[in-house]
Amino acid sequence: MLNIEQMDLKDKLITSFMALEDRVDVENYVHDVRSEAIKIFEDKGFPTKKEEAWKYTSLKSILKEDYSVFPKAENALEYNDVKKYFIHDIDSYKIVFIDGKYSSHLSQTTHDGMDICLMSAAIAKPKYRLVIENYFNKIASKDSLSSLNTAFSQEGAFIHIPKNKLVEKPIQILHFSTGNESAIMLQPRNLIVVDENSHVQIIERHQSLNNNPVLTNSVTEIFANKRAIVDYYKIQNDTQNASLIDNTFIKQKQESVASVHTFSFGGKLTRNNLNFYQQGERIDSTLKGVTIIGDKQHVDHNTMVHHTEPNCESHQDYKGIFGDSATGVFNGQVLVEKEAQKTNAFQANNNILLSDKATINTKPQLEIFADDVKCSHGCTIGQLDESAMFYMQSRGIPHKEARALLMYAFSNNVLSSVKIPEIKQRINKLIANKLGVRIGFDL
């Protein structure tokens, strides 16, 4: 009897890449980048626990699914059916994808004085050629997963804000998977270029609409040029078989201010590779996150801030609450080069374990080569404060609500820097839902 083994995901991806090659314009700059990237992926393969950066996160269980790499059908969704996944009470631009394909029906893009549109259009159209050649794949790392995304990069958000522009409406980037394919792998690719003095706010969410397996391997490159302000919010509250590997790279020029808030409340496995590269003086970088998970969920924050010039700051603050058999990882790297004098770099990672089976692995890594800097880091792991619980209960607040209130309090200073009130409200609600309580107060 013949034993035909199922083709493993790596082989399947490489085979699919060749099929993709036949369809694309080989004269394009991006084509060369893709060809190089697939070679890297072919060489390195998927990361395993043997690699230091993946010691506590195993992709094994999610790689065994038979993902379709190019979804066949064009699927449509009605706005009212998915409205709840949008921050729908604010006026915003929307870039929406369904099973990896752009949905013009759900989107609201613009070319009026700025470009808030699609990656596929930006790659194809000559008028974007310069921006693509200057910025595409310039800061994404050459690791295997980012390279895999690069090889398959066809679709995603393309945002180019020219200088002196305050984008008044936030931009929402949503990726839906419908479950019409039994298992699907998505590789969105976003490029965001914010020129001098401009300000933009972006909300990103990946949402599966049923329980079929989804693996998203996303790459986002963000360029904050001189004095630009970029606020990025990631809402990760996906269904139980949806996994996300988010690779985000931010390059900041002098006096720019960039922040990324990551709210991780769901999904099967979530890995956030968040990298800030500073290039200029008086740069401010903020990385904050709240993770609240249970069951067997896994969330891994792998952050890196690279300080290269004097008088810059970075602020990292990650809070985690882990119940049931959930596992968390925080691996925070801060690299301060010799030239980066007067750097202020802060890092904090505080965790609460709600059960004996929950686990957190936290590892701060500071490498400082300058001698006149202020750097601090601290991580804590604890249980909920019993004396605070008794105090609240003695005032008539039941155990469950008291617990929720304490967890709110715990994550509060992360929420305090969220600038869009509607997002703050939404996160509050998500936390309440996650904890299964009704909240009779606002923070």
């Binding site: 404060d385 019993e386 004396s387 605070a388 008794f390 105090y391 609240m392 209960q393 003695s394 005032r395 008539g396 607040i397 039941p398 155990h399 609500e401 008291a402 209130l405 304490l406 709110y408 309090a409 715990f410 994550s411 509060n412 200073n413 009779g440 107060f441 606002d442 923070l443």
Partner: protein, 250 residues
């Protein structure tokens, strides 16, 4: 209102309360005095339902119901209030939100709807005035960075808002200067009616100059060894606790 019969309680294997009997009727103010380590704070915590203490014998009746098996919040819903010796700091939750939550959870447990925001605001304003509390204070994080006096005033403020039937004041005077003590005591006195009761737990007599008790009980080594009127407090202040200990031993 409160009847305690032969109450024994402890932590792990260590017994702390060794047979307490106490009855408090509506309208009364009782004081429990005693040396350090006599079990005063344990008694307060046990009445309020702190779970780390185990009741090994006896019962606690509140308005005729045995509350021994109830959780701290269920006891609070019945009208028991404990003012903490060391109020806990809860960064990230404002005084107002905390009190709102406490009141509405209590109302929910009593089958009432939430208090309308307008009424809540009025009540907050009224009680803040009673205790000479600045409005700005209400939006600060609960007890975070409060001075000793502010913490205790905040406890009595919460008591005023929750309007309990029985208020237990655990060492409310500790860490207070005389002005703060006067404000706190005046607050308690203003809240006192013929229908509610107060149990003051203190090491020193000075608080009892302001909150004048109807009965004073002396707790030594987990037992009430002597009960009397407010004069007993003065006697203790003058002579200390040693003579009582000797009397008990003899």
């Amino acid at each position: 209102m409160l009847k305690i019969h032969n109450l024994h309680a402890g932590v792990d294997d260590k017994s702390i309360l060794k047979g307490i009997d106490l009855e408090i009727k509506p309208g009364e103010i009782h004081a429990i005095m005693g040396p350090n380590g006599s079990g005063k704070s344990t008694l307060a915590s046990v009445i309020a339902g702190k779970e780390e203490y185990e009741v090994t014998k006896g019962e606690i009746l509140f308005e005729g119901d045995d509350i021994g098996e109830l959780s701290p919040d269920e006891r609070a819903h019945k009208g028991v209030f404990l003012s903490f010796q060391y109020p806990v700091e809860i960064p990230g939750v404002s005084v107002t939100n905390f009190i709102k939550t406490a009141i509405n959870e209590t109302r929910k447990a009593q089958g009432l709807s939430e208090m309308p925001a307008k009424d809540m605001l009025k009540l907050l304003r009224e009680k803040a005035e009673l205790l000479d509390i600045d409005r700005k204070f209400l939006s600060r994080s609960l007890n975070e960075g409060f001075s000793g006096g502010e913490k205790k005033r905040n406890e009595i403020f919460q008591m005023a808002m929750l309007d309990p039937k029985l208020a237990i004041l655990d060492e409310t005077d500790s860490g207070l200067d005389i002005d703060a003590l006067r404000i706190v005591a005046n607050g308690v006195n203003k809240l006192k009616t013929d229908d509610n009761a107060v149990l003051v737990i203190t090491h020193y007599q000075r608080l009892l100059d302001y909150i004048v008790p109807d009965f004073v009980h002396v707790l030594v080594n987990g037992k009430i060894v002597k009960s009397g009127t407010k004069e007993l407090a003065h006697e203790l202040e003058e002579k200390g606790y040693d003579w009582i200990k000797e009397e008990v031993n003899a």
